[in-house]
Amino acid sequence: MLGRQKSVAARTLRERLIVAMLALAATFSIFVTGTIIVILTKETLGFFAFPDVTLGEFFGSFEWNPLLGSEKHFGIWPLVSGTLLVMAIAASFALPIGLITAVYLSEYASPRVRSVLKPALEILAGIPTVVYGFFALTVITPMLQKLTPAFGSYNAMSAGLATGIMVLPIVCSMSEDSLRAVPRSLRDGAFALGGTRFDVSVKVVIPAALSGIVAAFLLAISRAVGETMIVPLAAGGIAQITANPAAEVQTMTAYLVQIFLGDAPATGVEYKSSYAVAAMLFVMTFALTMVGQWTLRRFREEYD
């Protein structure tokens, strides 16, 4: 080592310098968050400074048509509704299946089944989202159209299912981690009392791991809300308030894609509106993450 020949003072100085550099690196993450917030706030304020936009309309109007028509409307709710519809479809697919698969993996499956199922889920987790978009467009939508002709070539159902497939591995692996963290003794106790496997898994292990499972659900939902490459390919581009899964919808992220692909001049009110939408998106996912963190801290069961 070089340090061996140096005096203690030189060594301490070097140590201090290194720690300072590491601390600087750690501060970078705070700087990133700060910059995101500053940019979004500044540009959103710039959007509301336009004469034909008001905060009241943004949250009060139920129409969103910044690009078409003579009269532009900037009401955020159609985009939020589209996002929530896709998110709801994805969640109702991924959350139950993900949780049950996690229980299966942690409580029932033999090592051989695990050695097949785990890599399969890891592969699903590693597939780029644009591939799921392609899958939704070329496989899921034609399948839905065969089932019922009500589905057009763009619909919320297809995008929602593809998003569900995308978040399934997140739900599954995070839930499984927290299920496996439940100590053996709890299971043994429940079995000793005469519980069946079902009793033990559903009435003892799941409640004990609930904070982790809820956190997994929230993370999956926040991923579904922020998902960007599936929705513009499969869900279409009509911003409307609807709960019909066969309808064409536009989500917040799909609107951002539409704007940044160059459908609007970079100085106009339409372009600036994307920052307001992005700010809304940031607030929603940020809130979901914070609630997830809080759940983990507040309801964590400590057994050791």
């Binding site: 590491l22 750690a26 597939i127 780029p128 644009v130 591939v131 070329t138 496997r197 490459m229 963190q293």
Partner: protein
Amino acid sequence: MSTHRSIASRLWHDRTFLWACLIAANIAMLVLAVLIISIFWQGFGTLSWSFITHFASRKPAEAGIRAPLMGSIWVCSICALTALPLGIATAVFLEEFAKKSRFTRIIQTNIMNLAGVPSIVYGILGLTAFARMFGAFGTNLDTAITFGNQESLFYFRLPFGSSVLAGGLTLMLVILPVIIIATQESLRSVPSSLRAGAMALGATRWQTVWCITLPAAIPGIMTGAILAMSRAIGESAPILVLGGLLLVFNTPENLMSDFAILPLQIYHWAGKPQQVFHYLAGSAIIIQLVVLLIFNGIAVLIRQKLQKPLQ
């Protein structure tokens, strides 16, 4: 209440639940199988060597992915070179040096939050901070400050514009939280007896970290880093914000070159109405999946070869 249920009914519940488990697990497998088969079905016919070596073209038969493939490699290399040192340094600071204070708790919460930020928001950050540099050098590239010859390898300018450097740095922001969290976990799994041993021999804290803790944590860090990189190579939303769908007919020459990336080329082809472009998208997806498979294979190999029991 379950206490009043008969044994028969409880056993029936047990069996039904097992069936539900098997169905759920099989859905996951089935989806993966359908996904892979449908992509090969659509993409295998148009896959050829010339598909990899040709540039983009309006004629589907001559189109290739050379520019987006090289663009992806450039961008991901920059991303790895910047994200790894920064991420590992942050994790080392948080795990090995920082005292449990308010400040470190804020950083920790903040990293968890950053991991949840949608990647398209990072794209907006990259566009403002790297591509335009907050408008500090004027609003378009004509007024940029340039260094060196445009054709040379060392050409550099401020602001970066929609260049590979801006793209790589933007992806760095996206995967930084992933690398930090993975590194922290593998540092935590290094037994504290190793650290205590080094300290007892008179090593300083940095010497302990550099010579003992980091080498012991390397397999975990490498695995996390490779998984983060496989996320980076599939990430397309931030790059889309940065430069839109660029039609590029040459491979990057320097840090300031325009570029395309593979996932966006897939998006571009998948969004076209003609069936033949969907086949091209399928072929590009096969290439993308092969790259991902190589990445994951390396991660598994490292996990198996390097992981020595430390207890």
